[in-house]
């Protein structure tokens, strides 16, 4: 594995050179928020690497995706995967990089999803190590690491005035080769410094939970009164699921368009919504917030484990930080453990 040094002064040149061949996504500050968006003008806009973007998955899995359009004569037009440009997601946190690895088996499934995979296969991920994890980060409790490399092509570590850049894949090597003049091989001293930062980051994580056995516990406590207590404060909005990098539920909708055409679109859906499980008969098997909150936790910590062998959570902490009523998944899981 190559480890290189990129001076911070050169980051603009690096990104500019990438933006000619790739659609470059990055965390960008807007009105005080950090949004993950295409970085179109590298010269006048610099990525906000100090914060975590509110949502990241839309770069590969858009909230609204037209699947095809049709007219009254069944003339169907589907978007061409060829039109999707090569993507680079820059400044991806290690937890978010891992989240795409968790989404992949879902969309690869028995029937591969061409829309997701077209973007995913053309995406290259450049990570930014979390040397200073955020308040509600708990990635180490779900198998991640603040400076982890899973799912990344390059990983940058902030060393003050320069970045330590670990080259993690062939794709990553290719883009380095295109701008090789900006990089020098990292001296052993700085590689050591990077490793120390990673160790400190891991140690500095304050929010932790031991999840050993939680999947088995969930198998036993479906009817436990703990769920009702837990769900009392939930207001049933979609913040936790929409900002979650591993939530992938969607709905299909047919919508009329101009000139007697219609289109079928895929839009994000949330298991926290009443409508999510509403049957045509009017019956709703998850009638209240209790069943809905319960489902969210079961999906992430039991169903995902049963189906794919991993937790459906990367510990990014967004659902905790952004929940307006302090519904805290770590507390929820502690309650689950306590109910066993």
């Amino acid at each position: 594995m190559d480890v290189l040094i990129l001076q911070k002064d050169s980051i603009k040149d690096f990104l500019s050179s990438l933006s000619t061949d790739y659609l470059l996504w990055a965390p960008i500050e807007k009105d005080g928020d950090t949004l993950f968006q295409p970085l179109l003008d590298c010269n006048n806009n610099s990525p906000d690497l100090a914060h975590q973007a509110i949502i990241i998955k839309h770069s590969i899995f858009p909230q609204t995706e037209p699947l095809y359009s049709y007219d009254q004569n069944d003339q169907i037009q589907a978007p061409d995967a060829q039109d999707i440009k090569q993507n680079i997601l820059f400044g991806v946190r290690p937890c978010d990089a891992r989240s795409f690895s968790l989404l992949d088996p879902v969309f690869k499934g028995d029937v591969p999803d061409p829309y997701y995979l077209a973007r995913r296969n053309k995406a290259l991920l450049i990570g930014m190590a979390c040397t200073k994890p955020f308040a509600n980060c708990f990635c180490t409790s779900v198998g991640g690491n603040p400076c982890g490399q899973e799912g990344l092509d390059l990983l940058c570590t902030d060393l003050g005035d320069r970045y330590l850049v670990a080259v993690l894949s062939e794709k990553g090597k290719e883009i380095i080769n295109k701008t090789s003049s900006l990089f020098i091989a990292a001296p052993a001293e700085e590689i050591k410094q990077g490793a120390e930062l990673a160790q400190n980051a891991e140690r500095s994580m304050k929010r932790r939970i031991d999840l050993a056995g939680v999947t088995d516990t969930l198998g036993r406590i479906f009817e436990n009164p703990v769920w009702k207590k837990m769900a009392l404060k939930c207001i049933g909005c979609g913040i936790c699921t929409y900002t979650c990098p591993t939530c992938y539920c969607f709905d299909m909708q047919d919508e009329p368009m101009a000139k007697k055409r219609g289109r079928r679109v895929r839009v994000w859906d949330s298991c926290m919504y009443k409508e999510y499980t509403l049957h045509a008969s009017g019956h709703n098997p998850r009638p209240t917030r209790v069943e809905r909150l319960k489902n969210r936790i079961y999906h992430k910590f039991k169903f995902n484990v049963d189906t794919f062998g991993t937790f459906g959570c990367v510990g990014c902490g967004r659902c905790i930080t952004l929940c307006p009523v302090n519904e805290d998944i770590i507390e929820n899981l502690l309650a689950v453990k306590g109910a066993a």
Binding site: A135, N136, K233, E255, V267, P324, V325, N326, D328
Partner: protein
């Protein structure tokens, strides 16, 4: 605000035969976030807190109550919910009573005179990455903020929620017990809205277009609103479908117009919609415009009196009719 007094009143409320549980605040799980607390008789009231960090409205939970299974049977009994209510919350309660959303005798209201609450975004920007639950008290125009063994003094003005700066009724307008001294009502101040109204229409349109592009339609603004309590919401309706599920600027406009207009002459200005928005949309700019119109055109203020008639159900011949004539 005396926490001990609150606990005493809470104990008294929960000791009543007709109160089934109490909704108050407790310490949150991290940093500056507090949590709603649902306390049943004989449960621990020591967890209750009241502090400038208590920036959420609890009124919504009264309206969500019957949706929980198991409580339906209980809800049939003539029993009350005890609730901790600040000035703005009391106005929401007034309006709910006025609209017959909730009967007055279903609530036991512990009113709290409120000197304003802290804006979560501001305090988290000042002290990022605080994991342990913090405590805040107010002293002589400053907030004393303690966490992780440190104590910081910050001028109140710096952290006070913007809406609290224009709050008219810091003392609850309806209550069974009041905690804290009565604070005088303050005159309305819509300078911010007037300044925005003065901008050219193109500029305002561009502004909202930019804002609504960010909306992800998580419906947190609707779900948290104490006055959005329709059991069938037009936004959820599938047949007919008034709002497409596609998320784009145009549909988001439609969504926010429906949401805002449904609050015309009703919004009591608690600012919950704006507080919870993960995308930081300035939703109170819309709500306060309607508030200002209701006041200027009809001399109406929502939630002042539970016996008042709501604005949209009344007509006076002297009402302004400039939009027709």
């Amino acid at each position: 605000m005396s926490v001990q007094k609150l606990k005493d009143e809470a104990a008294r409320a929960l000791g009543r035969k007709d109160v089934k549980y109490l909704i108050g605040y407790k310490k949150g799980s991290y940093g500056f976030r507090v949590s709603p607390a649902f306390i049943e008789p004989k449960e621990d009231i020591e967890q209750l807190i009241i502090s400038p960090l208590c920036n959420m409205s609890l009124v919504k939970y009264v309206m969500m109550e019957e949706t929980l299974p198991g409580l339906t049977e209980q809800a049939m009994k003539p029993s009350k919910i005890a609730i901790v209510a600040r000035g703005c919350d009391s106005r929401a309660i007034n309006l709910l009573i006025e609209e017959k959303g909730v009967p007055r005798d279903k609530l036991y209201i512990i009113g709290v005179s409120c000197k304003g609450v802290i804006d979560q975004r501001k305090i988290e920007a000042l002290f990022p990455q605080v994991t342990e639950p913090a405590e805040v008290t107010e002293e002589n125009g400053n907030y004393i903020i303690s966490f992780q063994g440190e104590s910081h003094t910050v001028p109140k003005e710096e952290l006070l929620a913007e809406l609290c700066k224009v709050c008219q009724y810091p003392t609850p307008l309806i209550y069974d017990k009041l905690i804290g001294d009565k604070l005088p009502a303050r005159p309305a101040n819509y300078d911010d809205i007037a300044a925005f109204e003065a901008l050219p229409v193109e500029e305002r349109l561009a502004y909202w277009q930019q804002q609504f592009t960010k909306c992800v339609r998580c419906y947190a603004c609707r779900n948290v609103c104490p006055l959005c309590y329709s059991t069938i919401c037009s936004l959820d309706s599938l047949s007919p479908q008034w709002l497409r599920r596609s998320v784009d600027t145009s549909e988001n406009f439609m969504f926010q117009i429906i949401r805002t207009f449904h609050l015309a002459g009703r919004c009591i200005g608690c600012g919950e919609c704006e507080r919870v928005c993960p995308m930081n949309l300035p939703l109170m700019k819309l709500n306060r415009k309607l508030e200002k119109d209701a006041k200027e055109l009809f001399g109406y203020e929502s939630g002042k009196d539970p016996k008042a008639k709501s604005l949209l159900t009344t007509f006076h011949t002297e009402d302004p009719q400039g939009f027709i004539l």
